[in-house]
């Protein structure tokens, strides 16, 4: 496997070290995905089951237990709030929608949450947890950094052999955001156009499964 570390100058890159670094970063993404699944299958499911048991308790307290019923309703609302916080944490570790449905649906959700005018062009193809995780968080940071008045941005995700090609255009360049996520996996980033301001295209290529 050819290492592509654009920040290194010259040809003295120690190949085994670069490869080890890349593998370590891939493991890092797999662990993040695993942690997210553990949250879902463990804590979250237990809390959801608890809301059902509280509902049963509420039912048994009827008909003269109005005070108890009110309390139980409040506890259930509180558990919903706890689960919302867990969802928030899970999304920051590894978004469940990215895990389950891939970059297209996950990035469209990001655009909707930011209420930003973004077109996402992506097939249903999958690229493995590392490349998808890196592409997702890079794009999210890039879009979040754009000014509020940004117009018609476009994100394209495509496979080029064993590489995930991510292109973000119509933006004020966010080279650094893409670089930070792509580089540890042996990826490269290039800025295609830089003018006029706010109309840049940045392309990242990340080795994938």
């Amino acid at each position: 496997m050819v290492s592509r570390f654009p920040h290194r100058v010259g040809d003295d890159v120690d190949e085994p070290v670069a490869e080890a670094c890349r593998r370590k970063n891939q493991d890092h993404w797999r662990r993040r995905r695993l942690l997210q699944r553990q949250l879902h299958d463990g804590a979250a499911l237990r809390i959801s089951a608890l809301t059902l048991r509280l509902g049963l308790l509420e039912h048994r307290a009827a008909p003269d237990g109005h005070a108890v019923q009110g309390c139980i309703g409040e506890l259930q609302d509180e558990l919903h709030a706890v689960l919302e916080e867990l969802r928030d944490v899970a999304a920051k570790i590894y978004p469940p929608l990215l895990d389950e449905a891939g970059l297209g649906p996950a990035l469209r959700e990001v655009a909707a949450a930011l209420q930003a005018p973004v077109t996402v062009v992506a097939s249903e193809e999958r690229f493995g947890p590392a490349a998808e995780g890196a592409a997702y968080f890079a794009t999210m940071q890039c879009l979040a950094a754009q000014p509020a008045e940004a117009q018609s941005m476009k994100v394209v995700v495509r496979r080029e052999d064993d590489t995930l090609m991510l292109s973000v255009s119509g933006i004020a360049a966010c080279h650094a955001e893409l670089m930070d996520e792509a580089r540890p996996l042996g990826g490269t980033v290039e800025v295609i156009t830089e003018s006029p301001p706010g109309a840049s295209t940045v392309i990242a290529r990340i080795p994938c499964e």
Partner: protein, 221 residues
């Protein structure tokens, strides 16, 4: 009501079983995955099947199971339960069917009243959409649509949110303590303001029109 249930989390499945029985429903079968449920339902009639979206067969067995069930038993209502309320899954669910179908968060069906109301609405042919998700769809409109939605009166925005939950005119009237006639008037005003021209009497078409309106811009960018 005769209910069939498929959920791979034993703790949640047992809890739901107990709550369904307490609510007076008959649980005709309960399974840990979709394939098992499909097999059980070939001999056991049911009114509504409750399906976990994320269960075997992986990755989203609930959706695959639902497609098979809808083909085999067109009158069987379908209620999807999930840990996540995602518009991506809502659209996939509405591709499976637009009548007698529902999508709710797992922790939001934890009372006899809510569970029974959800099942009854699905049994009556309605679309039931998690209020948390409906609210998010209404709040996250963009561009021109944001301005249009913002220009609705407070009461009209409430009605729009309840329409996005799939509620019928009577359901909306009951929630807002107003008459069904008043609801009809609000809905007519909303449709004029949104520029939607559709037969508002056909319930599922109306819900779809509202959801499509709220969603459309995110796919066009």
């Amino acid at each position: 009501m005769r209910v069939a249930l498929a959920e791979d989390g034993a703790l949640f499945r047992e809890g739901l079983l107990m709550l369904l029985r307490a609510a007076g429903h008959q649980v005709v079968c309960s399974a840990a995955d979709g394939d098992e449920l499909v097999a059980l339902l070939t001999t056991e009639p049911a009114d509504v099947a409750i399906l976990d979206i994320r269960m075997p067969p992986e990755p989203d067995g609930g959706l695959i199971t639902a497609e098979r069930l809808r083909a085999a038993h067109p009158d069987l209502g379908l209620l999807f339960l999930s840990h996540y309320a995602e518009s991506h899954y809502l659209m996939r669910i509405l591709e499976i069917g637009t009548e007698s179908i529902g999508y709710r968060l797992k922790e939001k069906v934890g009372s006899v009243e809510v569970l029974t109301d959800t099942l009854n609405r699905i049994g009556n042919g309605e679309i039931v959409i998690e209020p948390v998700l409906a609210k998010r769809l209404v709040e996250r409109t963009r561009g021109d649509k944001k301005d249009v939605v913002a220009a609705l009166s407070d009461r009209e925005q409430e009605v729009l949110r309840l329409m996005a939950e799939g509620r019928s005119n009577n359901g909306i009237a009951g929630q807002l303590y107003i008459t069904p006639k008043a609801v009809e008037k609000h809905i007519a005003n909303i449709f004029v303001k949104l520029g939607l021209h559709i037969d508002t009497a056909a319930h599922h078409r109306r819900v779809l029109a509202v959801l499509t309106y709220l969603r459309s811009q995110r796919d066009q960018g």
